[in-house]
């Protein structure tokens, strides 16, 4: 069927800020959908609150709304744009929940908007577990026995019937949030209420446990002619009981016979047809009892998902793009297969390689949380690796993870025989290393299988790696037999690992491999196991006879990506890499992308001219460099991942484009950087560098408490803390030693109550252009990534801003920056301090690019390739007539045991942008967009530490004026009453009952303002914050944040929020200049 001509404009819903369970895979899918539909001539309207995404760049849609993804705002957009249709299936759970809400309130009908892809019934059937189960039984499929509970009594009755253990799945939540497993009555009392609380419908499914069964996912696609295909099968190595997003997975499935597999495929088609997904992709999950082969349907997503992003990268089949085209009427046999160019999308990819995905977790950021994995997803990113067999793919994926220690260190951490069994039996993020350890200690496959329930096939593959390592350690590089070395490289062991095993250095290993003719070759991912020629260079490395890379002799640039997403290094860096690829391709360079993150736009085969899906390690990157011989490599856009490689790459003769690695080092090196600042007469907080506890204490005494301490060379404030006294400093130092082995600890005088500023600029080595200045809303001490911020500053004088501009420009020239630079300032009184300088891409780049309307990275990439700012027409700082507010989002609800407190260590996973001419409205939009509630009436609870009390008066007064009741703990209440405010008392937890937590649980408080007290009162405080979190009561932990919230409430009370597209803003900006 040809494409539909009865619709002209389509609204695409994005997925909002990056959160656990919904990350940059939806930037990938949304970007693909936008590009595909625009190429077909449709007017594309995009709504997404997340400014760090590529899709929200103005060139990807005709109208781009960076607005909160809430029904009111979408309604406003519908009113302005009057689209003919909505595509709800590429924006994750957010897109679907929004659509269902707009439907139930009648908005969709009111504006006559059609749903593309899946109708309301299908969306509901996919999301509502009860309806879904009924539908499955109706078509004769097996499902685990279960029942729905809305209260504890019902839960007890159902449990009685099912027997323990029971899996709890709250309805309508994302990534299994709020779910869990209970094995006994006591745990039931803990898990069920939490699940009911987490579900917007107050309902949870209690399900017969199929823990330990094998878990599979099938990605299927259907079109309007009812053709259905299966794009990819995925097998979870971690059996049922671990959320699929937290499981190590392999594609294609490895352990089912054709008989079993084809039946599962039949079931998957029956499911997509019964649920009624008219067009597009769905992900269907199955569990199989390894003993009997019984197969049950677990769930389905009637939309593109994280799994479909993985399936797309694993097969080369672009699910989101195809889904978008099917949604507008094409059928699978009408859409070309991009990779072969000669065949069509109506086929099923065949893989002649093995793909392994390993999640990346951030438990180190949440030390109070258990590292146990369950049905609620906790990982923040993932790596994918492609190899010629499972072992190679697994070992490559492990290399790509970039953990703090290497595999051997991780293994030895898990090797304690006393706790080893527990590490194997209880799923946890380090379990794969425990499996290696146990194998090394002589556990049999049967024993390991019994402990882990991991299929013996995978365990045997791991044992083969361990056996190879054991054998290698008996040889030297010169004596090791060819067959052994060959098997070792075929099994994914790195040169470095071989060197360590044979007690030599890796150059000798390289020589031995060369002598034996064991060579790394590059093969293509082509969807068809080489049945048809591949025209698209999507490559991976392996060992073999034939190399298919066929490098060109064009001018080319290689861009190193940012690896797996983690807190502190996320989508922003992918944004930078992607834009560099676009810009340099447009300049006539051939662009070569290297990355291993399957969720991203950068690993889309049509982003750069050539894609190498490889781990970002020296060995893998150098192999690509040697094959491609590019003019230069860009390392400054992918965060710490490529920067860590810069020096070794340079030493190996790789030309680094842009700012030199030495300049980047200088900025990181305390001594050298301090010297530069002194030379330039720039203030920095008093500081010192310590390699021992005593040294640290001595420095702290000299520069005076409080001090900020952190290891050198970290991103995202990893292991950073503020110490107010010697005790906490000693405690920190005793724990900090393993953070960054061999690297010193840095101490800075902490500038209390200072205002922090981010300034971003472009520099071509000779001239600089300031791009944006952002004022943090939280005071200094909160990590810049976690602080709300506003661009332009709303409370910093022009004179101070000019001082900062001048300092930043001077430093950029002094450092010889060619590309991007970010400076963090602190303002205390009238003094400007430089906190740090990052002469490379930083997290702020996409935000500033979008607010300032400058294609920052595109310009930076061209500068790195030799252009000058003036030639590119970038000569002056843009003038802004709106406020752009950033509010971060946090994963605290996934880590319920953890204190949701902000500090120098970054904890946020994503951010949203709010845009308005008024600061209050911009903040309100961002606050709501970040998923927070903002009450417009009710009771505000205030409890602040002594040094915040003076500033609290204004906060209290503002809320009072807005009509709120005030409640405060005794000290704060007394202080406020003395200043003429009417405040009710409430006891702290330690003061007896009823206390503040009782009030919170009873729903008597609508907003919490609580600045941390530290010390003894800490636990009391923590309970307030964790309870607020549990009950979804907004909790603000800084005074400046509270003031901004008051301004936002005032703005909300003043009238409705309006929506404006970036394109309209740009028009206005152009008209005014």
């Amino acid at each position: 069927m040809p494409k539909r001509t009865d619709i002209q404009s389509i609204l695409i819903l994005g997925s909002g800020p990056i959160v656990i369970g919904q990350a940059c895979e939806f930037d990938y899918s949304g970007t693909q959908a936008c590009r595909a539909l625009r190429a077909e001539g449709y007017r594309v309207i995009l709504a997404n609150s997340n400014p760090a995404t590529i899709m929200t760049d103005p060139e990807f849609a005709d109208a781009t709304y960076i607005e909160p993804l809430v029904p009111d705002m979408i309604t406003r957009i519908l009113e302005i744009e009057r689209p003919d249709a909505i595509l709800p299936t590429v924006g994750g759970q957010t897109g679907i929940n929004l659509t269902l809400e707009l439907h139930s309130t009648g908005v969709l009908d009111q504006y006559g908007v059609e749903l593309l892809g899946a109708g309301v019934d299908a969306l509901r059937l996919g999301e509502d577990r009860q309806l879904f189960k009924e539908a499955m039984v109706e078509i004769g499929l097996d499902v685990p026995r279960s029942g729905f509970a809305t209260n504890m009594d019902e839960a007890r009755v159902i449990t009685e019937e099912l027997g323990y253990p029971v899996i709890v799945r709250p309805s309508f939540t994302l990534g299994g949030e709020g779910g869990g497993v209970f094995f006994n009555r006591a745990e039931m009392e803990e898990v069920v209420p939490r699940a009911l609380q987490a579900s917007p419908a107050g309902q949870a499914l209690l399900e017969q446990s199929v823990i330990g069964w094998k878990e599979y996912e099938l990605e299927v696609i259907r079109d309007l002619a009812d053709n259905a295909i299966m794009v990819c099968s995925v097998e979870n190595i971690d059996p049922m009981g671990v959320h699929t997003g937290d499981s190590i997975t392999v594609a294609p499935q490895q352990t089912l016979s054709d008989v079993e597999f084809q039946e599962m495929r039949d079931d998957a088609f029956a499911v997509i047809r019964r649920v009624g997904v008219a067009t597009g992709g769905s992900n269907i999950q199955f569990a199989v009892d390894p003993k009997t082969g019984r197969r049950v349907v677990i769930e389905m997503n009637p939309r593109v998902s994280r799994s479909s992003a993985l399936a797309s990268k694993a097969t080369g089949f672009p699910i989101a793009k195809i889904a978008a085209l099917l949604a507008v009427g094409y059928t699978l046999d009408e859409i070309r297969n991009d990779i072969t160019g000669e065949t069509f999308a109506a086929f099923e990819p065949s893989l002649d390689y093995t793909v392994v995905k390993i999640p990346r977790w951030a438990f180190e950021k949440f030390p109070q949380s258990k590292t146990v994995l369950g049905t609620s997803m906790k990982s923040v990113g993932e790596v994918m690796a492609i190899g010629s067999n499972f072992r190679e793919a697994l070992m490559k994926a492990l290399s790509g993870l970039e953990l703090d220690g290497d595999r051997v260190q991780m293994e030895s951490r898990s090797s304690d025989p006393v706790s080893l069994r527990r590490r194997l039996t209880t799923p946890n993020w380090e379990r794969i290393f425990a499996v290696f350890s146990a194998t090394r200690q002589g556990w049999t496959i049967e024993e390991l299988h019994q402990a882990t329930e991991i299929d013996p096939w995978f365990l045997r593959e791991i044992k083969e790696v361990v056996d190879l390592e054991t054998e290698l350690s008996c040889w030297s590089a010169t004596t090791a037999p060819r067959q052994l070395l060959r098997r070792a490289k075929f099994s994914g062991l790195t040169d470095r690992r071989l060197a360590a095993l044979m007690s030599t250095d890796h150059s000798e290993v390289k020589a031995a491999l060369a002598e034996h003719g064991i060579q790394r070759v590059f093969k293509r991912v082509d969807t068809c196991a080489a049945e048809f020629p591949a025209t698209t260079p999507y490559l991976y490395s392996t060992f073999g006879d034939e190399d298919e890379s066929a490098p060109s002799d064009r001018r080319k640039v290689m861009i190193l990506g940012s690896g797996p997403n983690r807190i502190g290094q996320g989508i922003e860096f992918d944004y930078c890499c992607v834009h560099a690829a676009f810009a340099l391709s447009a300049q006539g360079f051939e662009t070569i992308m290297v990355n291993c993150n399957p969720e991203t736009v950068s690993t889309d085969y049509d982003t750069a001219d050539r894609l190498y899906f490889e781990p970002l390690t020296l060995e893998h990157v150098l192999a690509i460099f040697e094959k491609e011989k590019p003019e230069g490599v860009i390392v400054q856009l992918g965060g710490q991942t490529p920067l860590k490689l810069a020096n070794e790459l340079q030493a190996a003769g790789v030309p680094i484009l842009g700012t030199s690695p030495d300049a980047i080092d200088l900025a990181e090196d305390r001594e050298r950087f301090g010297a530069l600042l002194r030379k330039e007469n720039v203030l920095q907080p008093a500081n010192g560098t310590a390699v021992s506890v005593d040294e640290a204490v001595a420095i702290a005494n000299k520069i005076d408490y409080p001090v900020v301490v952190r290891p050198s060379y970290v991103l995202g404030g990893r292991a950073m803390a503020v110490c107010y006294d010697e005790t906490t400093l000693r405690d920190y130092m005793s724990k900090a030693t393993d953070v960054s082995p061999g690297r010193p600890i840095l101490l800075d005088r902490f500038l209390q109550n200072a205002i922090e500023i981010d300034l971003d600029l472009l520099c071509d080595g000779e001239t600089t252009v300031i791009c944006g200045i952002m004022e943090h809303i939280e005071e200094a001490g909160v990590h810049s990534g976690d602080s709300a911020a506003v661009l332009p500053p709303h409370s910093v004088s022009d004179d101070l801003q000019d001082q900062m501009r001048a300092i930043a420009s001077r430093l950029a020239i002094q450092l010889g920056v060619v590309g991007l630079m970010n400076v963090q300032f602190a303002i205390m009184g009238d003094e400007v301090y430089v906190i740090e300088v990052n002469p490379r891409a930083s997290r702020t780049v996409p935000f500033i690019a979008k607010a300032a309307g400058i294609p920052l990275v595109s310009v930076a990439a061209q500068i790195m390739a030799g252009a000058k700012l003036a030639e590119l027409g970038i000569t002056k700082e843009p003038k802004l007539d709106h406020y752009y507010v950033k509010v971060p989002v946090f994963p605290f609800s996934r880590f319920p045991d953890n204190d949701p407190l902000l500090g120098p260590e970054m904890k946020s996973t994503g951010e949203v942008m709010g845009i308005s001419k008024e600061f209050g409205i911009a903040f309100a939009k961002a606050w709501i967009g970040a998923g927070n509630r903002l009450p417009q009436e009710g009771t505000v609870f205030i409890s602040v530490r002594d040094r915040d009390k003076p500033a609290t008066t204004q906060v209290a007064r503002e809320f009072k004026e807005l009509g709120f009741q005030l409640v405060a703990t005794l000290g704060t209440a007394k202080f406020l009453r003395e200043r003429g405010l009417e405040v009710a008392d409430v006891k702290k937890v330690a003061e007896g009952r009823p206390h503040i937590v009782d009030l919170l649980i009873n729903g008597d408080v609508d907003l919490v303002i609580n600045t941390p007290l530290g010390g003894e009162a800490y636990l009391d405080d923590k309970e307030i914050r964790t309870t607020s979190l549990r009950f979804g009561i907004p909790c603000i932990t800084t005074i400046s944040g509270a003031l901004a919230a008051a301004a936002a409430v005032r703005a909300l009370l003043g009238g409705n929020l309006s929506a404006t597209s970036l394109q309209a803003l740009d028009e206005r900006r152009k008209a005014s200049t």
Binding site: M230, D258, R460
Partner: protein, 369 residues
């Protein structure tokens, strides 16, 4: 390479060689074809259509699950040799014989550890090639000579090597709806199972059974099975098919059976460059416009342009446009190049059996009146 393993080589007629490990020893010659199915190796190994062929699997891991007697497609393995990147020694799951042991026991040479993708790319470029798997110690000149003297697939009649020795019956499961004859040119078990489970009683006939003997059975319809080799030299069988066509009985031709039907109606067949061997082949139904993913295994195809005016091509391979199904006007003839019985591969074309059996019972009802 493990101790018991022996160094081996795959040598192709164009001179290219790939050194690996013989996991099942021996020497074998055949046309080398690649199969892109990611599962179903046991079904492939036991499919008589692979007589005369060495099969290379593109999915790197073979033998992940065990071999079990129920899923065999015939009484023994038929592939001349078997190649994969890696063979699993101990299968996953409960029971099942390790694939390597099965191949060893059945004297099927098997090679691992070669760059299988490089071989596929070679075959794709040159077309199917004759090849040999042998121990590395074998005399290369002798191998080469043997390679160049062995017959090519074009013109090779292999049906007689795989058909049953004498006729036998397969009872209907449940209520008997009809009685069919099936010409065994190397029939896969699952064709018989597919018919029987739908209520057909089947008389399986040796390939050279005359049409008269067949018709004398008092059957309601005839099925022409899949099988190995070139259909063209099978002239007496083509004659028999012509007679059966004239009898106006409902006919179902699958794979080789389909090619024989094509020849019987006056069309011609030709050798594909490297054939279709896999479970992901899209077939476009030209009648209703839908696409089905099918299991295919053929090196020859019916030339659509050669079909007479009373025939209509009803299905094509979406990838290369080759004929996958045709109809004969006013005759209940079902002729499909792909494998509706799957095994291995997707099940969705099984409806062909339903449609055929409906035609058979309808026809029988009319005839009875």
């Amino acid at each position: 390479m493990r101790e018991a393993d022996q160094a081996g080589v795959l040598l192709l007629e164009d001179g290219s060689r790939f050194e690996g490990t013989l996991v099942s020893s021996g020497e074998c010659f055949g046309e080398v074809v690649f199969n892109t199915s990611m599962t179903g190796y046991q079904e492939i190994i036991t499919d008589p259509s692979y007589r005369g062929q060495v099969v290379l699997m593109t999915q790197p891991h073979m033998g992940n699950y065990g071999v079990s007697s129920e899923v065999s497609e015939s009484r023994r393995p038929w592939v001349e040799g078997f190649i994969a990147r890696e063979f699993t020694r101990v299968p996953s799951g409960v029971g099942g014989e390790p694939l390597i042991e099965y191949l060893q026991r059945s004297n099927v040479p098997a090679l691992e550890g070669i760059d299988t993708r490089a071989v596929v790319r070679r075959l794709r470029a040159t077309g199917s090639l004759r090849g040999v798997i042998a121990p590395l110690s074998a005399d290369p000149d002798e191998l080469k000579e043997h390679l160049h003297t062995m017959p090519r697939m074009v013109g090779r009649a292999l049906v007689d090597e795989v058909t049953c020795d004498e006729a036998y019956n397969v009872p209907a499961q449940g209520e008997e709806r009809c009685f069919l004859a099936l010409y065994d040119f190397g029939a896969k078990e699952n064709i018989l199972r597919s018919l029987s489970k739908r209520g057909a009683r089947v008389r399986v006939l040796p390939a050279r059974t005359s049409a008269e003997d067949c018709l004398a059975l008092g059957i309601d319809g005839v099925v022409l099975s899949n099988g190995p080799g070139d259909p063209e030299p099978l002239t007496s069988i083509i004659e028999a098919v012509r007679t059966l066509l004239a009898a106006e009985l409902p006919l179902l031709g699958i794979c080789l059976g389909h090619q024989l039907l094509g020849l019987a109606v006056g069309g011609s067949t030709f050798k594909l460059k490297f054939g279709h061997h896999g479970g992901n082949q899209p077939v476009k139904d030209l009648v209703n416009g839908t696409v089905a993913i099918t299991s295919q295994n053929h090196g020859f195809a019916v030339d659509g342009d050669s079909l007479p005016y009373n025939c209509r091509v009803t299905g094509i391979n979406l990838n290369d446009g080759t004929v996958q199904a045709f109809e004969v006007n006013d005759r209940p003839v079902f002729s499909v190049q792909y494998h509706p019985e799957a095994s291995p591969g997707p099940h969705e074309s099984a409806r062909i059996f339903d449609e055929y059996l409906k035609a058979v019972t309808d026809h029988a009802a009319v005839a009875a009146r």
